[in-house]
Subunit: 174 residues, 2 copies
């Protein structure tokens, strides 16, 4: 079980970044994508349409605050991983994290509350440089699954790509 | 030598995605970031300021069209890698690509010309699902360097993070 929590979404400024986060979550194996901040029906609709066309069924949910979700996750014996450039590098904890069967990955927004650092079981950096929450999430999820998740088959897909060295090959399944 | 070429940047719509791409390029080991589309002094300024604070000196350059850069790269014996969800998976070519010492990584914008697929020596997918050019670039660069590039030291950095399991530790070097 793999869930992503994106903090403090802002409809106008973060529209594309949060969409990229949700699509990255879906492509690299997450089952759920929760977000706090502003409720964004456009974001939810675009991920839903993506699932209709490309298969799978990641659950996308807006929540008022992160605390209940984090508490629920802890009650169920899940592990909270906060991705932050201040954390310790993924490599140092990769073997340990791969053994967990219930991960909630928290990715920050504008300003992350200190409480998140404290509640997290792991504060993990994908390098200690400023870059992108999308980059951090992608590398984290890809390494956790040993690149397997991104290659899995998506159920009920209408669009199916055949990998090609030279161009675009896509089958439309109706 | 590692360069990234971002196609068809649009100042308004792509501002944050292109900034994330440039920061990802920098953090994961690229020496140069070129982009076509609209010239964006704001994007260039923000990467420049980032280098002043966090060190290193990735070169950011707007170019009118991709063709001269690609041709120059080919003339110098470089390899062109186009990241696309239609390509073949990175895993299949990773060993081969790690041996190249001069890579130009092309990441698409709105609509990628068919000529890019043809001119590229490799059309590489990070999974065959729609997600994010930032995610694709991050996973590609991280795997090419075996996660080493993101852990390297940046020269002349004013901000230096000490990795921490619990909070934020950053030194300001003047």
């Amino acid at each position: 079980m793999l869930a992503v929590l994106r903090l403090s979404h802002r409809v106008f400024r973060d529209k594309r970044i949060s969409t990229h986060l949700a699509l990255t979550a879906r492509a690299f194996g997450a089952d759920e994508f929760h977000y706090t901040g502003e409720h964004d029906t456009h974001l939810e609709g675009s991920i839903e349409r993506m699932c209709e066309d490309w298969g799978g069924n990641i659950k996308v949910e807006h929540i008022e605050s992160p605390w209940n979700l984090i508490q629920r996750w802890k009650d169920l014996g899940g592990t909270i991983v906060h991705l932050t450039m201040y954390g310790i590098d993924l490599t140092d904890k990769l073997t340990e994290l791969r053994r967990k069967d219930k991960l909630l990955i928290v990715v920050g927004g504008v300003k992350v509350s200190g409480a998140i650092y404290e509640l997290a079981d792991y504060n993990i950096a994908i390098g200690n440089q400023p870059h992108s929450e999308v980059a951090a999430l992608a590398v984290f999820l890809d390494q956790i699954s040993g690149s397997k998740a991104r290659k899995r088959k998506f159920e009920n897909a209408k669009n199916v790509i055949t990998p090609s060295e030279e161009g675009k090959i896509m089958e439309k399944v109706e």
